[in-house]
Every structure is written in structure tokens, then in C-alpha cells.
């Protein structure tokens, strides 16, 4: 403004500015609520996007190696079928690495997929029986595989000897059938610890003969130990490709006892020498990859670098590698793609969609509640300006001008605050702002002004209007139409969400699903306002007969709760519903995470082993905090056979009574069915075929069995999938199949014991038993899931959502009190002059406001309790609970009750605040309020 005259003040804005300043309390409230809400609805999806990016890393990190890398695997088929021993030199086998790597690199370039590291190349033999030629082994049985891999040199420190070099010496071996086989002795390396355990030294020559689990008929070969090493970092993920390089695996021996398995390592330059020993290609034969070796390529993805943007190119690459023949053109043998990435990416996208839906409930709820509270505040402000509007009208202000002023006073506070907050949040928090958030910001920005505009327009029109019975009829009709509209919308949303739930679950975040709970709450609010007068009128009549005047008058006034209280009551209902829904989801998340973990673990804790012996079981049972330990034989790839058809089950062989006792008071509790006589083993199934007589397949042997009961509660989750469980008494199974030995111990353990167990296992699991392979605890699984990016984000959002909901509800309550205060204080003053006792004033407020609050809270709690039923079909909590199967959201009466109680307490505290404010209010002002109200 460059004023040419001193008098050229911006007159047109004088009224706006002064009027705005006069209502700055309201304006400040509007601005703060609008800004906070916009900040919230913008930040939440942005943070969700960030959490989504991290979640891919989480999934990759949690996936077992192999499931998270891109691997190729090639076991060349042999034309011969078996390897033939010979003393004649053969043709040199050629490793297929380069050509395949080039093909994959080309496909990756074409799809834009980013493979962070690799390929790591390796070729390895099957484990073979170690026959020492220099000195005897210190262990009864040992098997070793030879891994050809160049990546290890950098990860080790040589303890004795040196890195293995090229094979130079030859040796002639005898096969089992007595034929001579001349081989090159391949220099290899072994971990120093393993070498000491086995009692082998540098320089020792070892013969390797076909092992106990061999699938290929190879010829024997010989290696010489050139060096022993120790890893510079045993936790380096590079070792995960073949854990037997570092540790000794124990496998049960067919004749009892166990066999040690370890891996020998040699450079890829020994490929031809090793291949020649294991599977000689006759001289003049085609030069090809060795059928005795498994060739692997491995590209690794860096969990910290993966984001949402990597998903589509990775998928495209996987599709190409799997199905595009052009990629493999010119390559004789096509390697198999070995990766869990497709499953992982599917799961990731489902997780993202579910998170979006979950988060959209909160943002939509907060937006609706905030708009209601803002509209309420704005209407409250407009109501206080009613006289000014009348005066302006009288002085000849046009309707447009009056509307502009009053709306401007509201929008002047709301719009800049909302937009600034949204903009600032959008800039300060990283991440894209989705369209839904923009819409929500727009709603918060514009709706309050719009509400005031319409309300003022109606007021202005009515200023000189004949208050006519026909007109009030029209108004009643309008109100009814509005109410019916809200109810119809809610019904429409609910039916749509229920019928389209499956589609939404499958990953289509849906605007209608997001607003369905809000619409239900709004409908409940409208109904509450409509139905409120009935029961309150009855109460008032009852109070008239029994209690004091204050209660009667208050209840009577509550029953006649007018339009001024309608919006606060609806806001109260929506607020309570929001708090109840967030509380329900919050507690469901906790409970379902626990359940999912228990389904995966099978008890509080589980110790897995190749075999576990009685002393180890006794030691586990004796640990502090362990109530009971039940040994079991678990076979996840067992089966049941009905009418010659076999289906996969998990065989769980243990003492049913002890297991039931172990699980009592947990969500997995079941009653052990009584055994009754029948043919064969008594089996309890968790599901599956209904036939009574069946065959139980254990260790490849089909045993006659009969089903004594079906207990669905026994179903378990095995490697991420729900599995049918066949429960059979362990002693009966051992009688039928004496080779069966316990390989699992289920424990009932308190949290400390679980933590101690997990810590001991991480330290050195063989301390728990020689063949122990791992320990899983419920707390450990829950913790892992809850710490995931998406899970912790959803948890935080729901907590923040219920806090924001609580604050907004408190505001709505205070506004309800403020809206009814003038009429109340007027009545009070009149009653005082009639000699009402001072205490009755407080009772008047309580009995007037509390019933309204109670009804509002009840309606809100009902809506909040119903909301899970409404949105349940559209919601799959598995993403944030770690469950394998779909877990629906269920109503949670306790959570709803707690939420309702919390809002009631808010209501009571709002009354106390109001009472304090009234008491502190200037008496003269009080009286004048009585005059003019």
C-alpha cells in the first residue's frame, strides 16, 4: 500500500480487520486446530511412505538368505547318467558363469532393475564322506563338500598354510567296485576350528567319496588341505551362502549318532580339476559344464538402499528371467531362478496397501472430527456476531457483503493457518503427499468457512422473515432430508465396503472404505441428536418426582437440546467413535501379534534340534522361569494318506495331555481328546480330510492310523504358511517307528526365561544341546514384528490418532458447554432471583450436560464398536501382526469401554473447567449476560 493521501487508508478492510481482531480468541482456536489437523493429515501419509520404503528393507532383512537375493542355479544334466571311473585323462569341463552373468546384466539393464552387488559365483559339490589318507579323524563320521568360490580370500585370515592354489599332483583311487580312478588332487582350505575338531592338518590328503545324502552318482576324488583360516568377520552376510564354511552341521546318522558336515573351499580356477575327478567327461566329448557341480550365481539387494521404486523393475526382471526366452538365447542350459523375491514383493505390496487403509481410517477420522470442531468453533464465533450481522444488515450492508465479512472472519483464520501448516509439513517432512491428503487439507481449509457461510446466509435471510409455522415445517423437512442423506450414505458405504472387502484387502485402498467408519459415526451422531429427547424427557419426568429442582430442570433442558447443541453432540459421537476405533485397532494389533507369534512358535518358546536327548530336555525344564518342557518329534513335511491320496501335514508327536497343560491359559489352549481304540495310531487333526481311517506318513513310512478328533485350534504356521497339524502321541509313534526321536522341545516360559533362552542360543546354541539348531520365542517373534517399519508406524499413527481425537473431543465438549452456557446462565439468574440455592447451579449444569454427553458417548462407542465389523472385511492386519493368514479386525468390547470411559472423564473435566470459568467470571458480566441473552 503506497498511500498517496494520508486519508487513503484501506477502508474496505477496516471492518474486516477490526472485526477479525475482535474475535481473535476464536480465530486463534480455529487457526491452531486447522494447522494441527493439516500438519497431521499431510505428515502421516508422508511418514507412511517413508516407513513403506524402509519396510521393503525390513522384509528383505528378515527373509532367509536365498529368499531375498536373486539367485540362479544350474545343475547340468549329464548324458551319461552316472560318472564313470577311468585312468585316462578326460576333456576339460567349462564353467558356464560368464555367459549367464552377461545375459542377466543385459536383462537388468533393459528393465532398469538395480542389483546392488554380485554376482557372487560359486560351484559346489554335494557333501561327500571324508576318508582320511594321512591320519585318522578325531570324529566318528565326517562329510565335506567342496565349494569353488573366489570371494572368500578377502574375508579370511590364514592361520596355517596358505590360500589353495592350482592342482598339480595326481593320485589314483579305488572305487567301491574296485576300479581305478586317477584324479588331480585339488588343494583346499578349511576353517581352522573345524580342522582342529576333526583333527586334520595342512598337508593332509583326504579322499572324498559319495556321501550319505547324495543324489548324484559321482566318482571319488581327492583333496589336499593347503591352509586353514578363520573368518575376519563371522557375521559377514557373505558367509550365509554356505554356513558350513564356518560351522559344523550335524545331521543324524542312519545308524544313530550324528555326522559332521563342513565345507572345504577352493578357488574357481580348480573348476576343471574338481569336475574331472567327480565326473570325467571322456576325451573328445562335448565341452560343457560339470554335472557333478551345482553352479550358483547370486546378486544381493542392499536392504538399506531398497525403496518402493525398486519394486516394479525387480518384478519385471524376475518375469523376464523366468519367462523370456530371448534372455537365454545362445545359452545351452538355462539356469533356474532361485529366489523368494516374488513372494516377498507380493507381500510387500499387500503390506503397503493394508497400511494405507489402516492409516486412512485415522486421517479420515481426524479430518472429519477436526472439520466438525472447526465448524463448531466458527459457528460459535458467528453466533456471537449475530448482533453485528443484524446491525450491518440494518445499515444497508448487502447480503454478499455480510456473508463475505462473516465468512472472511472464519476463513481468515482457517485458510492461511491450514495452508501454511500443510505446506510447511509437506516441505519439512520428506515424502510424496497423496491426493487424499490434499483433499483432506482442502476440507479442513474450506469446510468451516462454508458452514459459516451457509449458517450466516440462513440467519441473514431470516432476519426480517416472518417466523411462520409453514417455514419451520420446511426447515424441519430440510433437516430430515439432511439426516436421511447422512444415514443413507453410511448404509451405502457399509454395504459397499462389505461387498467389496476382498478387493480392498487385495490392495486397493479405497476412499469409501476410509470414510466408512466416519460416516457410520456421523449417522450415529445424527440419530443420537434425533432420539436424544425421548429418553431424556422420560428421565426428566422421573427426576421431577424424585429429585431436586436442579436435576429436573437440567434434564428437561437436555431433553429439549436445541439445534445449537446438535453439532457438538455429533462431534462428540464422532470423536468417541474415533477414539474407540483406534483403541480397538491398537489392542487388536497387540493381541493378534501375540496370537500370530504363538501360532508360529507353538508354545511360549521352542527349541529345535536335529535330535534332542533326555538330559538336554531336563536341563531346559530346570531353567528358571520355565514351567514345563514337552519334548516332541516334529516333521513339517509329513503327510496323511486317505484313499491313496497323500496331503501334506505337520506331524506333531508328543504327549497330548502334557502339551495341553503346557498351553493352558494361552490363546492356543485346547482340550486333549480322549483316546479310543481303533486301528493304528490315534491321530488328532486340526483339519483336512474327514475320513476316520487314514495313513500317517512319517519319515517316508506310511503308518496305519485313525482320527480320534478334529481340533482346529491345533493348526500351526510353518515357514509362513498355515499348516494342518496331525497330533499323535509320541510314545505310540515311537512304538510304531522306533527311529523316531524327539527333535523339538516346547516350553512354557515366562518373559525373562524366554529372553535368557534367546540370549543363550545367540551366544552358543550347542550349550542347550549338541544338535540344537535354533530357539524361537513368542516375545522374540512379537518384538521382531513390532519393530518393523510398517508395524511401528501404524502403532504410532494410531496412538497419535487417539490423542488428537481425544483433544478434539475435549474441544467439542467445551464448545458444547459454551454453546449452552448463555441460556443456562440466564435460567440460573432467573432461578437465583426465585431463591435457588447456590449449589443447585452446578447440579443444573451437570444434569443438563452430562446426560447429553453420556448419550453422545454411548452412540459414539456403539459406532466405534461397530466400525470393526464395517471395515473388517476390507482390512487384513497380517501386514502389521506378522500373521500368516488373514486376521480380521474384531470388536474389542474392553477397548471400546475404556475409550468411552476416557471420553466421559473428558466430559466431566470439561464441566469442571466450565464451572471454574463461570465461577471466576465477573459477576457484573454474569448479570449483564442474563439481561441480554
Amino acid at each position: 500500500m503506497t498511500g498517496r493521501h494520508a486519508s487513503t487508508r484501506p477502508r474496505p478492510f477496516l471492518l474486516f480487520r477490526r472485526g477479525f481482531a475482535a474475535g481473535r480468541g476464536t480465530a486463534a482456536l480455529l487457526a491452531v486446530v486447522a494447522a494441527l489437523t493439516c500438519g497431521f493429515v499431510v505428515a502421516v501419509p508422508q511418514l507412511a511412505a517413508g516407513a513403506g520404503d524402509r519396510a521393503l528393507g525390513d522384509l528383505v532383512r528378515a527373509a532367509p538368505p536365498g529368499a531375498r537375493d536373486l539367485g540362479l542355479r544350474l545343475v547340468p544334466q549329464s548324458t551319461q547318467g552316472v560318472a564313470l571311473p577311468s585312468t585316462d585323462p578326460g576333456a576339460e569341463a567349462a564353467a558356464p558363469f560368464d555367459v549367464v552373468s552377461r545375459a542377466v546384466a543385459g536383462a537388468a539393464r533393459a528393465t532398469g532393475a538395480r542389483l546392488d552387488a554380485g554376482p557372487d559365483l560359486a560351484a559346489q559339490s554335494e557333501p561327500m564322506t571324508v576318508v582320511p589318507r594321512t591320519r585318522p579323524l578325531r570324529v566318528s563320521a565326517a562329510e565335506a563338500l567342496v565349494r569353488l568360490d573366489d570371494a572368500y580370500d578377502a574375508r579370511v585370515r590364514w592361520v596355517e598354510g596358505a590360500a589353495p592354489g592350482a592342482a598339480t599332483t595326481r593320485r589314483t583311487l579305488d572305487t567301491i567296485s574296485g576300479q581305478a580312478h586317477t584324479v588331480l588332487v585339488v588343494p583346499v582350505a578349511l576353517r581352522d576350528r573345524t580342522a582342529r575338531t576333526w583333527g586334520v592338518r595342512v598337508g593332509d590328503v583326504l579322499e572324498l567319496r559319495q556321501g550319505s545324502q547324495a543324489t548324484r552318482r559321482t566318482t571319488p576324488t581327492a583333496v589336499v588341505l593347503a591352509g586353514t583360516f578363520e573368518p575376519t568377520d563371522a557375521d559377514d552376510p557373505g558367509w550365509a551362502a554356505e554356513p558350513r564354511l564356518l560351522g559344523i552341521a550335524k545331521i543324524p546318522a542312519p545308524e544313530g549318532g550324528s555326522i559332521d558336515q563342513a565345507a572345504l573351499v577352493a578357488p574357481l580356477s580348480s573348476y576343471a580339476a574338481l569336475a574331472d575327478g567327480l565326473w570325467r567327461i571322456p576325451a573328445g566329448g562335448p565341452i560343457d559344464a560339470s554335472p557333478a557341480l551345482t553352479h550358483t550365481w547370486r546378486w544381493t539387494l542392499h536392504p538399506d538402499r531398497l525403496t518402493r521404486a525398486d519394486v516394479a523393475p525387480l518384478r519385471a526382471l524376475l518375469v523376464r528371467l523366468g519367462s523370456d526366452p530371448a534372455v537365454w538365447s545362445g545359452i545351452a542350459r538355462r539356469p533356474a531362478v532361485v529366489t523368494g523375491l516374488p513372494d516377498l514383493l507380493d507381500r510387500y505390496q499387500r503390506d503397503l496397501a493394508v497400511t494405507d487403509v489402516l492409516v486412512s481410517f485415522v486421517t479420515a477420522g481426524v479430518t472429519a472430527l477436526a472439520v466438525l470442531v472447526l465448524a463448531l468453533t466458527a459457528l460459535f464465533g458467528a453466533e456471537r456476531r449475530r448482533d453485528q450481522v443484524r446491525l450491518l444488515r440494518l445499515r444497508g450492508a448487502s447480503t454478499a457483503r455480510v456473508l463475505g465479512l462473516v465468512t472472511g472472519w472464519t476463513a481468515g483464520a482457517c485458510v492461511p493457518a491450514a495452508l501454511l501448516a500443510a505446506l510447511a509439513t509437506g516441505l519439512l517432512v520428506a515424502g510424496p503427499v497423496p491426493g487424499a491428503a490434499r483433499l483432506e487439507v482442502l476440507a479442513v481449509t474450506l469446510l468451516p468457512g462454508l458452514v459459516v457461510l451457509v449458517a450466516t446466509w440462513l440467519t441473514v435471510r431470516r432476519l426480517g422473515e416472518v417466523p411462520d409455522a409453514t417455514r419451520s415445517l420446511a426447515r424441519a423437512a430440510r433437516r430430515l432430508v439432511l439426516e436421511l442423506l447422512v444415514v443413507a450414505l453410511a448404509v451405502f458405504a457399509v454395504t459397499t465396503v462389505r461387498s467389496r472387502g476382498a478387493v480392498i484387502v487385495a490392495g486397493h485402498a479405497d476412499a469409501l472404505a476410509a470414510v466408512a467408519p466416519v460416516l457410520v459415526a456421523l449417522a450415529a451422531g445424527v440419530l443420537a441428536v434425533r432420539l436424544l429427547p425421548g429418553p431424556l424427557g422420560l428421565l426428566a419426568r422421573a427426576a421431577e418426582r424424585r429429585r431436586g429442582l436442579g436435576a429436573f430442570l437440567g434434564l428437561g433442558r437436555a431433553a429439549r437440546t436445541g439445534a445449537e447443541a446438535a453439532v457438538p453432540v455429533v462431534a462428540l459421537v464422532v470423536g468417541t467413535a474415533l477414539v474407540a476405533l483406534t483403541a480397538t485397532v491398537g489392542s487388536s494389533l497387540g493381541a493378534q501379534r501375540d496370537l500370530a507369534a504363538r501360532l508360529a512358535v507353538g508354545a511360549d518358546a521352542r527349541v529345535d534340534a536335529g535330535r534332542i536327548d533326555a538330559p538336554d530336555i531336563a536341563a531346559l525344564a530346570a531353567r528358571p522361569g520355565v514351567r514345563s518342557a514337552v519334548p516332541a518329534y516334529v516333521e513339517t513335511a509329513g503327510g496323511i494318506e486317505v484313499d491313496g491320496r497323500e496331503s501334506l501335514v505337520t506331524v506333531l508327536a508328543l504327549d497330548p495331555a502334557r502339551y495341553a497343560d503346557l498351553l493352558r491359559d494361552t490363546p492356543l489352549a485346547f482340550a486333549p481328546p480322549a483316546t479310543h481304540a481303533g486301528g493304528g495310531l490315534p491321530v488328532v487333526l486340526s483339519g483336512g480330510p474327514a475320513a476316520a481311517a487314514l495313513g500317517l506318513v512319517v519319515r517316508g513310512t506310511t503308518l496305519p492310523a485313525h482320527r480320534i478328533a478334529t481340533v482346529p485350534a491345533l493348526a500351526r504356521v510353518v515357514s509362513g504358511r498355515e499348516s494342518v497339524v496331525a497330533l499323535v502321541p509320541l510314545d505310540a509313534l515311537v512304538d510304531a517307528l522306533p527311529t523316531v526321536q524327539p527333535n523339538t522341545v516346547y516350553l512354557a516360559a515366562d518373559r525373562d526365561a524366554q529372553a535368557a533362552l534367546a540370549a543363550d542360543a545367540a551366544d552358543d546354541r550347542t550349550r542347550l544341546g549338541a544338535l540344537v539348531t535354533g530357539v524361537t520365542t513368542v516375545d522374540g517373534v512379537v518384538g521382531q514384528v513390532a519393530d518393523g517399519a510398517l508395524a511401528s508406524f501404524v502403532g504410532a499413527t494410531y496412538l497419535a490418532g487417539s490423542l488428537v481425537g481425544g483433544v478434539l473431543t475435549l474441544l467439542a465438549l467445551l464448545l458444547l458447554l459454551a454453546a449452552t452456557r448463555p441460556a443456562r446462565s440466564q435460567l440460573l439468574i432467573r432461578l437465583r432471583t426465585l431463591g435457588l440455592a447456590p449449589g443447585s447451579g452446578r447440579r443444573l449444569a451437570w444434569s443438563e450436560v452430562m446426560p447429553v454427553v453420556v448419550v453422545g458417548v454411548l452412540a459414539g462407542a456403539a459406532a466405534g464398536a461397530a466400525a470393526p465389523l464395517v471395515v473388517g472385511p476390507a482390512l487384513d492386519l497380517a501386514a502389521v501382526t506378522g500373521a500368516a493368514t488373514r486376521l480380521a479386525l474384531e470388536p474389542h468390547p474392553l477397548a471400546v469401554a475404556l475409550a468411552a470411559a476416557a471420553v466421559l472423564i473428558l466430559g466431566a473435566s470439561a464441566l469442571l473447567v466450565d464451572a471454574a470459568a463461570t465461577r471466576r467470571g465477573d459477576l457484573a458480566q454474569h448479570l449483564r449476560g442474563g439481561d441480554t441473552a
Binding site: 477502508r11 477496516l14 475482535a22 443484524r390 440494518l394 445499515r395 444497508g396 448487502s398 426480517g464 409455522a469
Partner: protein, 313 residues
């Protein structure tokens, strides 16, 4: 320029001009309120004419319909039936735009409560300027006219003050300035002195008279204050939604050559020939239900029904 606002020359749209008729004309005005199923007839066939430049006091019991009449004349409310014409405009036939123009230019309104007449966050000067800016009076003129108005009303010293910094009487005089800012032809004041002590009330009333004299504004003022009504030339009484009586005062010179105020009380005879007898008359003669009328050559006699029979009998 200062008084052109009072003329009715700016005819607008449908406002039919009747140059020689009364400035304010109410004919058989009816206003029925219906609230919660009960019908209240606030005005039941009210007739009133006021000439341009007149200052008329309206008196009447509470609930007799005074405020209702003023609301209709101010263009805020519309009658259920009847004719109402102000400054040549038919208020029933005004379009929304004309009504706005009418409110801006033709009438000024003064409420009983000073606070209801002024915006609390504007100074006296700004309050007076407000109606002018609403009526798009050129900016340069607003300031001078506002100053002039405040000067005439004797509150020039309050120009920069906000309402809460002024006494009740000052507030009401500023409010009068607001009402007169656009130099309307008619000033409607509904008990403007009702909340004031007698001194302030005198000041406000003096200001109203001054406005009437200076700007030629036609004034219709509702008052319960006998002190006020005794000092106007014409007082109209309203009873049960009808004009019932009228007192006209004029200065007359008596036989001794002294000037004195003469008040003559008239009953109002409407166009249907209806007449309301003053309550004290009917009470004194215990007139009830039926009366006997006698037409004489120059007057009509009214007798109680029985007594008239006795005297005759």
C-alpha cells in the same frame, strides 16, 4: 449537498412516486406473527400518515405493536396485508436491490440499546462513516460529512473513541449520527432514551430535534417518556395494533398576548369509520358492551345504553 439526501428525488425502480401524498403512509396495515401454532396479530389495520419534516412521537402500551410498525417502516419486516408507502415508495413492491437502497439511503434506525447501534470495534467517527461506505459515498465526502454530523449532534469530541469509552448518552448520540449519516429522509427511533437517565435523555432528544431542524429529517420516535412526548408537535397513540388517538400541540397566543402551548387530544377515526374511545372516558361513564349514539348537527353523542334509555324514558 448536505440536505439533498432527504429529498425523495432519487427514485429507484418500482418505487412509485406520489409527489403530493404524505411522506409516510400506512393504510390498514396488518402484521400477523405465527409462532408455535399461536397467531398474534401485532398490527390490526393500522392507519398513519406523516408529512415530510414532521416529528412524531409514538406512544402506546407494551405489546401494542410500536416496534412492529417501525420494523416494517425500516424495511426489515414486511406486513401481512395493507399498504405502506414511504417517500413515495411502496415497501411491499420493492425488489431486493431497491430494499437495500431504501435501507441505505431513505431510512435511519435507532435502537433502544446504544450497543446494538454501534460496532464495538470501530471508533465513533468510523461508525458514522460505515453506512456511508456501505452506500458508496465518495471517500472524501465521508470524512467531512461524518465530522459535520458529530458536530451537529454535539459529540464531536468523541470522534476517536470506541463505544465503551463513551457515556450512554454520548453513545446514543453517536448512534443517532450513524442513523443520519446518509442523510435519510426518515429517522425511526425505537425508545432511543429508554436506557438513559433524564439528563442524557434530554440531550439525546435535543439532538433528535436538532437533526429534524437541521437536516429536515422526518422523525418517528417511539417513547414512553411523557417528558418527551409533551415536547413534540404531534403524538400518536397506538392501542392493540391500531392508531387510537392523537395529540396535537401548537403554540397559541392567548387573550393576554402570552404565548403558550395548546394541546388538543383527538381520537382517530379510520377510513372504515372505526373509533377507539379513550379508556379513561369509557371508565368514567362505565361504558361497556353497547353504547347509544346520537347524531346532532355538529357532533355525535355517546351514551351508556341503559342511562340513555332512562333519560329518554
Amino acid at each position: 449537498m448536505s440536505t439533498t439526501g432527504t429529498t425523495t428525488g432519487r427514485s429507484h425502480g418500482s418505487g412509485t412516486r406520489r409527489g403530493d401524498g404524505p411522506y409516510i403512509l400506512c393504510d390498514n396495515l396488518v402484521r400477523i406473527f405465527s409462532a408455535e401454532g399461536v397467531e398474534v396479530v401485532a398490527l390490526q389495520g393500522l392507519d398513519l400518515t406523516v408529512e415530510k419534516g414532521e416529528l412524531v412521537a409514538l406512544v402506546g402500551a407494551s405489546g401494542s405493536g410500536k416496534s412492529t410498525l417501525l420494523a416494517i417502516l425500516s424495511g426489515l419486516d414486511t406486513p401481512s396485508a395493507g399498504v405502506v408507502r414511504v417517500a413515495g415508495r411502496d415497501l411491499l413492491a420493492l425488489s431486493a436491490r431497491d430494499r437495500l437502497h431504501y435501507r441505505r439511503r431513505t431510512v435511519g434506525f435507532l435502537h433502544q440499546q446504544a450497543t446494538a447501534n454501534l460496532l464495538p470495534y470501530l471508533s465513533a467517527h468510523e461508525n458514522v462513516e460505515l453506512p456511508m461506505s456501505l452506500a458508496s459515498v465518495p471517500r472524501a465526502e465521508r470524512a467531512t460529512r461524518a465530522a459535520e454530523t458529530l458536530e451537529v449532534l454535539g459529540v464531536a469530541d468523541c470522534a476517536g473513541r470506541r463505544p465503551h469509552e463513551m457515556s450512554g448518552g454520548q453513545q446514543q448520540r453517536v448512534a443517532l449520527g450513524v442513523a443520519l449519516a446518509n442523510r435519510p429522509g426518515v429517522l425511526l427511533a425505537d425508545e432511543p432514551t429508554g436506557e438513559l437517565d433524564s439528563r442524557s435523555s434530554d440531550e439525546v432528544f435535543a439532538a433528535i430535534r436538532r437533526a429534524n431542524a437541521t437536516f429536515g429529517t422526518t422523525v418517528l420516535v417511539v417513547t414512553h417518556d411523557a417528558h418527551v412526548s409533551e415536547h413534540v408537535a404531534r403524538t400518536v397513540g397506538i392501542r392493540d395494533g391500531r392508531t387510537s388517538s392523537e395529540v396535537r400541540r401548537r403554540t397559541a397566543v392567548d387573550e393576554h398576548g402570552n404565548e403558550g402551548l395548546v394541546a388538543e387530544e383527538f381520537a382517530v377515526l379510520d377510513r372504515a369509520g372505526r373509533l377507539q374511545l379513550p379508556r379513561q372516558f369509557t371508565a368514567a361513564l362505565e361504558l361497556r358492551d353497547r353504547v347509544r349514539l346520537d347524531l346532532e348537527s355538529d357532533h355525535i353523542g355517546v351514551w351508556p345504553a341503559e342511562r340513555g334509555e332512562e333519560e329518554r324514558g
